[in-house]
């Protein structure tokens, strides 16, 4: 290997020749060393658990089969968990897409201090992802101490259980997830808008496009790949919902089912029923959904084309 230091004149003349003709492997070997630590983690935290889940899910007392899948799918809560996710996505995604795109366009046309201050404020809730965000929402949802108590009074709600009724959970989750995620996506979509060449926008102005036509006919088509990315990633995230319904079930004393989402059902099988085969089968089902969405994003969205 070329373990020489900078400024050794003898090497300077020989190295390029060795690189191009003599040692095409040097670059490969260097690359192997550089990617090795990451690849090791990829194997330990990505590939092995995936393989393990596959094997576990297919393993039965008589050998290999689909018994685990049959057991989890025929659980009386299985279909419900996915129905819950579908309803939540139906409420959440339109709010998310319209909200983020609308705010992005407005922030984009507000350059300077005002726009960046707004963007910063929208981003802050992102710091409270997960349990912290949930705690904040408990504060909002719990009548009596809530800053929107007038709202709960208006509905006639006086307890948390009245606010967090099962039928209202999708709306509550949609609000929570929008609050927590909008700022991050706004930064991403905003960056997409910033990437639009000035000439394109100037040409549109020359052609007499007003602000609405500009947004609808010029900007939206250009940032469409990002919107697709956001949509698919949020769908994938939606199927993974765990902590919000989990803690909600706890604070409502089971008014929200402890097996509300697919991941919660998987968790129940792994920890309460102690049926790891069925838990692994559910993981594989969720993995396949994520994998399908992931492949779609990587191969079809046009965002990740190889540069070389």
């Amino acid at each position: 290997m070329t373990a020489t230091t900078l400024g050794e004149p003898a090497i300077v003349s020989t190295t390029p020749r060795r690189r191009r003709i003599g040692l095409p492997g040097a670059e490969s070997r260097g690359a192997a060393i550089l990617v090795l630590p990451f690849v090791l983690l990829l194997i330990v935290a990505g590939l092995i658990p995936t393989a393990y889940a596959l094997i576990q899910s297919l393993q039965t007392v008589q050998g290999f089969g689909l018994d685990n899948f049959v057991r989890i799918i025929s659980d009386f809560r299985f279909v419900d968990t996915f129905v819950h996710i579908f309803i939540t996505l139906l409420v959440w995604l339109p709010i998310m897409m319209v909200g983020v795109v609308g705010l992005s366009l407005l922030v984009y046309s507000s350059p300077g201090r005002f726009g960046s201050t707004m963007r910063f404020i929208y981003y802050i809730p992102g710091a409270l992802a997960g349990v912290a965000n949930f705690m904040l929402w408990l504060f909002i949802l719990n009548p009596g101490q809530s800053p929107v108590d007038f709202l709960w009074n208006g509905f006639g709600y006086t307890t948390l259980n009245q606010v967090a009724q099962p039928g209202q959970l999708p709306v509550i989750l949609a609000a929570m997830l929008f609050f927590q995620g909008a700022g991050t996506w706004l930064v991403i979509v905003n960056g997409g808008l910033n990437g639009i060449p000035d000439e394109v926008l100037e040409a549109a102005v020359v052609d007499g496009a007003g602000p609405v036509a500009m947004a609808w006919m010029i900007m939206l088509p250009i940032i469409r790949p990002w919107l697709g990315y956001m949509l698919l990633l949020n769908v994938a995230y939606g199927f993974q919902l765990f902590i919000e319904p989990q803690v909600m079930s706890q604070v409502t004393h089971g008014q929200i089912s402890p097996q509300w989402s697919p991941n919660q059902l998987s968790y129940t099988y792994a920890y309460q029923i102690l049926d790891t085969g069925a838990a692994a089968a559910m993981s594989v089902i969720l993995l396949l959904i994520s994998l399908g969405l992931g492949l779609w994003i990587v191969l079809r969205s046009g965002l990740f084309a190889d540069e070389r």
Binding site: T15, V44, G46, P49, N190, G191, G195, V298
Partner: protein, 309 residues
């Protein structure tokens, strides 16, 4: 950054007078900011209140009356005395796995991102593809399988498996990859090779010194992801004193008389909304600190470049 000039122009044109559309825009953005900010501000202020006075303060929740540092101090004492000071242990565990996982992510992601961006090697396209795929898949999808793996090696209840798993951060590799692709000229790498540096030394001496932006972004995203991670510690750290602060906060919520009068009846320390709010506020301080530190790197649009590819 190319937007800055066009932005400046349009701003120049618009700043002279208040048109209805400008008022509408500023009004809408301000209203949204109000909706985003009010819950957080009132929530943080809750930590400075007394639980038995919340309903009695004139003006209610928006009132500044009833706020005091003494209240915050008292609330803090309650939080810290919960279960013999376990809150400090949770914070410590979170810091260990959060920082450990972040360091591991930075150390593995930067060289891998560099190699993917600047070197030709067998399997490059495959590695890039797998990295992208794992990046866009939610990290909760493998939690149960990871539990099976870690329990097979007897690592349940230990912090190091959590650190190793958190250190696997494909998004960090992708951020680094985009960074080196867009900021490191090929000629610089070639020149360093002409000088006789090995590939690893080219990375260490040439690429690494100009990767501040990438390091900041990887630190930020990975630390926030680790700090807020709930599902992974939940299954890998089952005992209370092993847990992170995300699990701890859930435990505080669960033992509050607000939500569970029966369980909390037996507890010597009772947490109400002010104490819960204060604990949550303490919990988000590290994330806010990292956020403010990385703010200028975040807003530079590199995140977007990362997604754009």
């Amino acid at each position: 950054m190319s937007s800055a000039s066009s932005s400046a122009q349009s701003r120049h044109a618009a700043s002279s007078r208040w048109t209805p559309s400008r008022a509408g825009r500023v009004g809408t953005l301000s209203a949204a900011a109000f909706i985003f900010a009010v819950p957080i501000v009132t929530f943080i202020l809750m930590g400075f209140r007394q639980e038995n006075a919340i309903g009695q303060v004139p003006g209610g929740i928006f009132s500044l009356a009833g706020l005091s540092l003494e209240n915050a101090k008292r609330n803090l004492d309650v939080v810290m005395s919960f279960n013999h000071g376990i809150f400090a242990t949770w914070m410590q565990n979170s810091l260990i796995v959060g920082i450990g996982g972040t360091v591991l992510a930075v150390v593995t992601a930067l060289p891998a991102g560099y190699a993917l961006a600047k070197l030709r090697f067998k399997g490059r396209r495959l590695l890039r593809f797998i990295t992208l795929l794992t990046m866009v898949m939610p990290n909760t999808v493998l939690v149960i399988p990871l539990f099976l793996e870690v329990s097979a090696i007897g690592g349940i209840g230990k912090l190091w498996p959590v650190i190793v798993i958190m250190g696997f951060y494909p998004f960090g590799v992708y951020l680094s990859y985009i960074h080196f692709l867009t900021t490191l000229p090929r000629e610089l790498v070639e020149a360093a090779r002409l000088d006789g540096l090995s590939e690893v030394m080219v990375f260490l001496r040439i690429a690494l010194p100009i990767s501040k932006q990438a390091v900041a972004l990887v630190i930020f995203f990975s630390f926030v992801a680790n700090w807020t991670n709930y599902f992974l510690p939940l299954v890998l750290l089952p005992l209370s004193e092993q847990g992170t602060v995300t699990l701890g906060l859930q435990q505080l919520i669960g033992s509050s008389p607000l939500f569970d009068p029966t369980t909390s009846a037996g507890l010597s320390t009772k947490l109400y909304m002010p104490q819960l709010a204060l604990a949550t506020t303490i919990m988000i301080v590290p994330v806010l600190a990292v956020f403010i530190g990385a703010q200028r790197f975040l807003m530079r649009g590199a995140v977007v470049g990362a997604v754009k590819g």
